[in-house]
Symmetry: D3
Subunit: 322 residues, 6 copies
Amino acid sequence: MADSVPRIITGDTIGPVDSTAVPRYAGEATFARLPRIDEVSQADVVILGVPFDSGVSYRPGARFGPSHIRESSRLLRPYNPALQVPVFASQQVADAGDLAVNPFSIDDAISAIERGARALLERTRFVLTLGGDHTVALPMLRAVRGPVAVIHFDAHLDTWDTYFGAAYTHGTPFRRAAEEGLLDRTGCLHVGTRGPLYTDADLSQDVELGFQVIPAPEVDQLGVTGMAERIAQRVGDRPAYVSVDIDVLDPAHAPGTGTPEAGGLTSRELLATLRSFARLNLVGADIVEVAPAYDYAQITGIAAAHVGYELLSALAARKAAP
Amino acid sequence: MADSVPRIITGDTIGPVDSTAVPRYAGEATFARLPRIDEVSQADVVILGVPFDSGVSYRPGARFGPSHIRESSRLLRPYNPALQVPVFASQQVADAGDLAVNPFSIDDAISAIERGARALLERTRFVLTLGGDHTVALPMLRAVRGPVAVIHFDAHLDTWDTYFGAAYTHGTPFRRAAEEGLLDRTGCLHVGTRGPLYTDADLSQDVELGFQVIPAPEVDQLGVTGMAERIAQRVGDRPAYVSVDIDVLDPAHAPGTGTPEAGGLTSRELLATLRSFARLNLVGADIVEVAPAYDYAQITGIAAAHVGYELLSALAARKAAP
Amino acid sequence: MADSVPRIITGDTIGPVDSTAVPRYAGEATFARLPRIDEVSQADVVILGVPFDSGVSYRPGARFGPSHIRESSRLLRPYNPALQVPVFASQQVADAGDLAVNPFSIDDAISAIERGARALLERTRFVLTLGGDHTVALPMLRAVRGPVAVIHFDAHLDTWDTYFGAAYTHGTPFRRAAEEGLLDRTGCLHVGTRGPLYTDADLSQDVELGFQVIPAPEVDQLGVTGMAERIAQRVGDRPAYVSVDIDVLDPAHAPGTGTPEAGGLTSRELLATLRSFARLNLVGADIVEVAPAYDYAQITGIAAAHVGYELLSALAARKAAP
Amino acid sequence: MADSVPRIITGDTIGPVDSTAVPRYAGEATFARLPRIDEVSQADVVILGVPFDSGVSYRPGARFGPSHIRESSRLLRPYNPALQVPVFASQQVADAGDLAVNPFSIDDAISAIERGARALLERTRFVLTLGGDHTVALPMLRAVRGPVAVIHFDAHLDTWDTYFGAAYTHGTPFRRAAEEGLLDRTGCLHVGTRGPLYTDADLSQDVELGFQVIPAPEVDQLGVTGMAERIAQRVGDRPAYVSVDIDVLDPAHAPGTGTPEAGGLTSRELLATLRSFARLNLVGADIVEVAPAYDYAQITGIAAAHVGYELLSALAARKAAP
Amino acid sequence: MADSVPRIITGDTIGPVDSTAVPRYAGEATFARLPRIDEVSQADVVILGVPFDSGVSYRPGARFGPSHIRESSRLLRPYNPALQVPVFASQQVADAGDLAVNPFSIDDAISAIERGARALLERTRFVLTLGGDHTVALPMLRAVRGPVAVIHFDAHLDTWDTYFGAAYTHGTPFRRAAEEGLLDRTGCLHVGTRGPLYTDADLSQDVELGFQVIPAPEVDQLGVTGMAERIAQRVGDRPAYVSVDIDVLDPAHAPGTGTPEAGGLTSRELLATLRSFARLNLVGADIVEVAPAYDYAQITGIAAAHVGYELLSALAARKAAP
Amino acid sequence: MADSVPRIITGDTIGPVDSTAVPRYAGEATFARLPRIDEVSQADVVILGVPFDSGVSYRPGARFGPSHIRESSRLLRPYNPALQVPVFASQQVADAGDLAVNPFSIDDAISAIERGARALLERTRFVLTLGGDHTVALPMLRAVRGPVAVIHFDAHLDTWDTYFGAAYTHGTPFRRAAEEGLLDRTGCLHVGTRGPLYTDADLSQDVELGFQVIPAPEVDQLGVTGMAERIAQRVGDRPAYVSVDIDVLDPAHAPGTGTPEAGGLTSRELLATLRSFARLNLVGADIVEVAPAYDYAQITGIAAAHVGYELLSALAARKAAP
């Protein structure tokens, strides 16, 4: 029962529930079956759910994203063979649960997210946010000490100006962030964008905000290695924030999202690219736009859980490096 | 093609597309394949979609309700055998399409809906609204000349006060309507409510707002006839507005909704009850909370389409009566 | 393996696979895991699949009905407690597999079905057909020695004249049958019809063809007992053919069908009604319009399998009666 | 976040999360958003998950039942209007999480469940078990001080002897319980059974074990009131254990289960019957056979959550009664 | 409402509904939210739905393809960044709705399609057909002034001779077209074929009809660039007709189709290949075999909508080129 | 009907049902519509279903795998164009149906599978097993005359030691096989492994058991050709057993499985790799872990059916080679 769960302990670090004693389908669904934040004395890295989707323009439902990603993360195990690193041994990772934010006021919600994230960042080094829609990236960027290089995986640019007169939606976080000086305009880039735009001005304005683009159609030529190289060259050793809109994946790999576009990345390409981030200086990350009502057999949730796992692995690998 | 669709004509009245010439799965999905409002010179009754769901507290998605109900209405035919009335012959029914309302501001949306409905009501006698979430009932009640008796089919009371500080959501329309004097407090009732409440105050406050209740568990004893009788006695010949939250049906009959509660009505019970409204003085109606992402094989959409059809039939039957 | 399956034997009768030796999910999916016709020396009753759906006017897919119903029949067991009869002990029931009929020619298909059924009826007393769309009822009625009283469970009348100029479709079998003298016009009735018609002429023409109607909305008042009584009075001891369009059930109970209408029967009502047929003189039956692509978790398939089981039980009960 | 969740407090009793502060889709999914057992100093009633399905004979997957029912219980509110009782105010209800039991050994699992339940019952008055398959009823009956009257809702008898030589499976718990003297053979009954059996011996043996039967087909005649009366007469004031196999519901109401049978109860009938148990002397209960892989839009999970809620309400109502 | 929809206007060209004023989920679902043909004075390019699937040999349902593709095209925006072209500015594109064709006679249907397409081609330069099954390619090839080079994307050859004696089905259009002299046998090719055939004669006969083949397994070696090059070399500046059976995509990318074969193209590969057609001389195109009953979360529909968009973009890019 | 099915005959070899006479959706679903073993006098190659999933650690349901793969194999045709070989002409392939194994005892099940396979191998040269979970690989390896080189396609290593004290589960077959001397430790390899492990010891122990690894992330660099080459080098002309866990595919390509991991192979990559096995000396094969309850539109089943087809093709191609 809840009060006596056997866990994998490494030195001072409390890891996931021991799956040889508690079946993976049993017990509470924290991310990767890690301890809740109230079960550890301190945490280096914290998982934070932000169930909020009032900023979406098409299919809603990402408010159920955090619980869905957690349920889909029950199969994650502690050792990353591709990076050769035990992910939860050298850093204490804990699940802080969900922020309670107002579904009826985008402004209140954004404030509450920023406030909640700031409070957490006084206790921890790194927050991995599980959205929620892409609106949540803005308050997270505010909470992280900036300006930062944003590595933005997405089918869309998300640098529109307003939509129905609203300045703060899931289509605008990076324009707002740029305006607020939260971005290091020499180091940002979009990865995986594709699909039609409103006008060519969408792209030219985007450039002014500090973004380079690796469009999805170029991935065939670049390959994963080329893509990782392009990102590394752009970002360098700048403090970097990774924002993964799950719709960067092709709808075949991530049907459970709000504004799907054909022609996206495979999960293998995305995960391999994230693995290369062990050499970057990550300061924050989010995984957004998982809309479970459109998912099937958890394939979107599992992809998102693996995205989170690779990001945590990159942190562990960097920490593990001499 | 669109510009040459054969239709069933009765006197001056332009009816649905002729299904012996155009298969039911072909062509534009207006409600019941009726003409668009721009295809008729005048309309007695108008179908209006309101794709809006920013007022929901749980599963969103009712913004896709209008198109889903219309797609699910392709099988409707023009003669109602239970009421022995040709539904589209004695009254011109037309589909006015969707109102375009702001998903990011509930206040703007409510204003736009009221404005749009008022404009329509200058051209027509009756508006049947396809939601959208239950928030839309408030501006529709404002647009209808009141006060009116509300016959409210729903698993929930929808007379809460505020939620997260928000006064206008899908849980509050009838409290707001009562406060604004839009309800005839001697003639309102809820039908089909069930499931747990917050406190017993929910019910006592509800009574003060002018509502009687026919809870779902009483339907077994009452039967359809008893239920129809109770409604008729309560409403009398008052101007009556019918608001059908599709979650009044059991989740087996309507999985595609946002806040499902077990133990609801069957579609047969609901449709039979609506048929009895031919003797009432209906002045407006809505069908809300159809969330297609949770529907299966259109069973919720088909139920909603039939609800609309029986309401239109009740209007036709009254018109047809001497 | 296929050549050594243990079965339940009662006297000379070879029954279903023994489920205490072969799990229900294992092995070939004949109806109720009964022997194939080539595994028995003679058969009193035969199950025949007719995978054909070229006669449908809306959602196609009933061509996959036979295999779906069989797969959904794996849980059927041999003793019917409601009728207190061992269903497969006093009569040899066998599965004749599927007829191979032309999907591109309705005329060829109808001929092939009639021919196939006639051939079978030289070897057996009773054929239970698994459709396929309702077109198949016509050739089955031709193959059965008529005229017969038809007990027709359906949301629709299926006595239309033509559709797109086609005389033979799933909407016309009973008009054609009446014209061909296959119906005993003093003994036919529709059960469970509902939903809108084209005109009031649909009903008046239907009466002329020899049908009484028990519309679905009357079932609340009649109850199962009343419904069974009405059928028995109408049919008497005439040779009777039972045709069950699965859309007689409410879409909640049978989403997997082609032209669903809200407000239908429950599976409990339908099965109880069929149980009363033990006192009738059944000469043939079909179960049609199961469209698996729209089914979920086999609920439609299971309902159809139970319909077949109750029909076989009625035969067994009559045979068992003194 | 997890460590600061606002809750509804009534005197000493800690109730569900306050939904006006934390949206229902946010935060941990304990049953009805109640406190975990480690968050309260004592508990009168405990919810216990038993994720185990190695005893099933057909569709597996009930191992995911506990988490699914909990996720489906987020909409439950604290006041039961039908019984007029605040459910979580007069009794402390807490969620004990899941028992970790061996999926590869039925014997080990049964022992662990009995041991876990006994340990809990030293700390609490009543355990409501969320299965898992019906095998779990046996160790729960062992743990409850017996003999008890079992009120068994199920499509099946579950009093078979062995299956593939196995004495302990989901088809045998009540025969084993009878053999072990755990049942008060003067007070047990099955409710809702239906569908075919192996032989008539199934029923005669069942009678010897102490069970009366209310078959599903009789519910139409009995009505909910009659059914409740029959149960009350049979059980009287004996200590009573309620075991609800969710397949007692019709597949339309509970597709998400392992051995569905057409012709079952509606959720309205089941919930109304449970409400009548406020007058009984309940000593334990389980809800089993929820298999989420076959559920849709949580309709089975929601039905199961409401079943649990009505059982907790019956306890509260009895406690509240003078 | 329908009669006052704001649109994007470029010079004389009337484009899609303005999504900053009308949310994408609102209003009528024409392709890409373009104007209906009766809303423009002339059209350069026309979208035509052909809801017909009586020619299929396995899973039916493509009759619902046109409405599904249109519903799935709501997210398309007007500027194609990969081709750097505003798609709806330099050419007037309009949606002509659906042709009404007979589901019960393949011959009648083929005649009606040819007749309807010819009538349209008197008013417009290019018709993009939304199927419907692949049978529709034949009448479209008749309507286009030929002979033409056919670029055929498909898992299958579709050059069979007859099936069940039927000469005109979804497996035969290109053999019939070759026999009728509609193909330029020096310029045709299949792309993406894979999966087993009946005999080796299938391939040799296909060669005689004028087709080269780029089988799916070769795409790994060729890459998108190589594939585009091979097509360009084969087609040259011949008048070219593009026929896209959506099953050319892997079932992961297009589950919603009738005869799926594993091992297909990704949507990224297909879209990139189509983009290269800006240099070809396209005279007609179709997108067929989208069967929505098997789709999930619209991923097949979205892929098909993007296919249409890239084809329209290729036309625009060629027109835009000097 | 079953006793008169027309088949494709080549010399002495009885092939699949003739699809020009019997539509693919009609008739019994043996694998590829091949004859049952009791319909042929001898068989070179036999398909054997093993519906067993009591060894799974997460999502169960693979017990329904054999019937699902067979239903999904109805579209397979007899000629393999990529290998230029008629698959069912030079070797008699037959379907032996399912083994009946005990779901309640893993030990009994393993014995029964070994016994059943040995019996079959006295009558045939090659058994292709349709699982069932991966536990079945162990008894199949026992039945094949070993030691053999195992080519193991899987997301996981399946060389764990014990799980919940159980030595025989779906996670341990290859460790047990190595311990029993069934493996040629100089020739085994895993292909497509990915996702997190418990510790780095998992990998080092695996090496000791004789396995090389081609992890999924390396496939991008290797390509199909490189992967095939690596396998050929490792296996050489050793007797080789191919074990395909369908979760080697990405969840996008195979959602219907029990322990899905993001980042897997595409079906195109897997099928092309299998095609290269025509040069190997195959002595046995299995396809396991297809869990239909999580499949959609049969995409997993179709992939599995094609895997089986390519394995049979490789056998045919080797036999056909001089």
